[in-house]
Amino acid sequence: MEAYLSALMTLLQPTNLIMMYLCAIVGCILGAIPGLSGGLGITLILPMTFALNTELSFAMLVGMYVGGVSGSFIAAVLVGIPGSAASIGTCYDGYPMTKKGQAAKALSIGITGSFIGTFVSIIVAMLCSGFIADIALMLGPWEYFSLCLMAITMVIGLSNGSVFKGLLAAFLGLWLSTVGGDLVTNQLRFTFNNINLYGGINVICLLMGVFALQQVATAYAKGRLEMPEVDASSLGGFGLTVKDFVDNARTILVSLVIGLFVGFLPGMGSGISNLIAYGQAKKMDKHPELFGTGYDPGIWATEVSNNAGVGGALIPMISLGIPGDATTVLLLSAMTIHGLQAGPMFIQQNPVLADLIFLTVLISAILVFVTEIFTKRWFPMLLKAPYHYLYGAILVICFMGAFSSTTSMFSVLLVLGFGVLGVVMDMFGMPNTPLMLAFILGSKIESYFRMGCSYARGDLTSFVTRPISLIFILVAVYSVVGPIITKAIKNRKAAKSV
């Protein structure tokens, strides 16, 4: 309780509160604009936090995260294009509702659903994280190695596209993580006598190149810089009554549980949870035929579940050091940059900071909710933001961030190199999340593996003879092999039926 109060006092300091609020609003704007995201915002402000204290840095980063997830429904409702994968399901009913002249109600459901999802999930995260961290303290390097492995394979197995290309990207990330001095013997690897590589590849350079520069370059090359016109004729009023909440209480509750659970599983973010919740809401409803025509439960389900993923994803990040989704991968790298070690000891060693992260989510959610309610009628203006100015600014901030992370021009050129890598990966259909996740967890995987071998006196079977480690390895194997087998069975059945 003392830590909570201390965290609350820190967060309520004017500078922290104002910066958190500003970042949450910027995140909301970035989340609303298709092609941009709160994750991109985190990437861009990360270098700025080098000079700030840890509390303020995380207030800003987490505020941006909450705003980014919350804002993604705006474009889905107004123009039928999701701001991010988290709101794909919202398009199905949000946009038809706008076309029916009920944009105000659709936006109010999105705003309220987002708030409920984030608020309740973070309360659950606050209650569970300490407990999970206590359990995690009982695990050894064997279990941690298997857990990290499972996190990466789950991202690959559950992402869209080819499993093999996902695995290829993960191994590429793993190799990039080996560049620099070896953790045990300090032997230099793949440095080519370049002093800039002795400490390994800077995570900021990889993020800026593969994530931000690639996004701008491909959007421009593919000519994706136009937005459809917004019908802003029906944005007045709140549009929701108490009856709406009562009628949709079951959908909200089930979607909350789905969002929390899916967010908790490593690699399964809100991009998946919103679609699962939408499908579940459709199954449970008395009128499934109304889904897709501008039906309230469709929006409630997707928006509650994708925002519930925030709390869900923070639980494994804080208590196990394993990111729950792509954005928490960025938060985890921020922790590393600030010299913090996420994992079971994090809550014990940094109780105030851990509580500050939770409280930032809580307060950001409230502030974003109030702001969105009062500024709803101006949402269409967000979608008129000129991309040429936005993308131009992103490019400059990218290179500035890379330089400031190491004060070396080598980092700037590295961003360009990783930008080209990102474009090449996009061209080949290789997802970039497994690459980033494997890069960030790579050094952990290697050190846990080597520690495990060393403790077991070179006995590799120790990874499969310890029951919890074995379970994680089996889940890891299944998450890769499972989709391949399911697909093969489906293809065989389809072939037989023809």
Partner: protein, 163 residues
């Protein structure tokens, strides 16, 4: 435009070449064995093996689906891609040569001008935007956060003191 290359085959061949290069480079890492642990070469070898294995599997299972795939970009798209990457490269070198502040004003204007495509923009607004944003970034970082940004080798050579 006729689609001549199967992208997955190209990816697979590049992946195999990269794996072979990583494996070759790994053999050159001096071995400093600590008892009971696999040593510094193990994970690079595992990475190379993984890249090679999944390049091959992707060529076997994914390449046939690529036959009907549309080209990634058309000729105009590749021109745009080349242009924006070339601008980034020039901006990087300019940053070192004339310093972050001036390079960013010019670079940002070039980016905005390129990214606008056929759209008309207010040039005065664009110039003001570029000066204001670059100045906020430069002075915010160097004065506000005390994080150094490139000041420019040209000015140092000419002994001109930049703000």
């Amino acid at each position: 435009m006729k689609h001549k290359f199967n992208r997955t085959y190209v990816m697979g061949i590049l992946g195999l070449a990269l794996a072979a290069w990583i494996a070759w480079q790994t053999t050159m890492i001096p071995e400093r064995l600590v008892s009971n642990e696999p040593g510094p070469k193990f994970f690079p070898f595992i990475s190379a093996a993984g890249i090679a294995l999944f390049s091959i599997l992707s060529m076997i299972f994914d390449a046939p689906k690529d036959k009907e795939a549309k080209p990634y970009l058309d000729r105009a798209g590749w021109t745009r891609m080349g242009l924006i990457m070339a601008e980034c490269l020039v901006y990087c070198f300019a940053m070192n040569f004339i310093g972050f502040w001036i390079a960013s004003i010019l670079g940002l204007f070039a980016f905005v001008w390129t990214l606008k495509g056929d759209k008309k923009i207010n040039i005065v607004f664009a110039v003001v935007f570029c000066i204001v944003l670059s100045s906020i970034c430069y002075f915010g970082f160097t004065r506000g956060f005390h994080i150094p940004l490139p000041s420019g080798t040209l000015w140092r050579t000419l002994d001109i003191k930049m703000p």
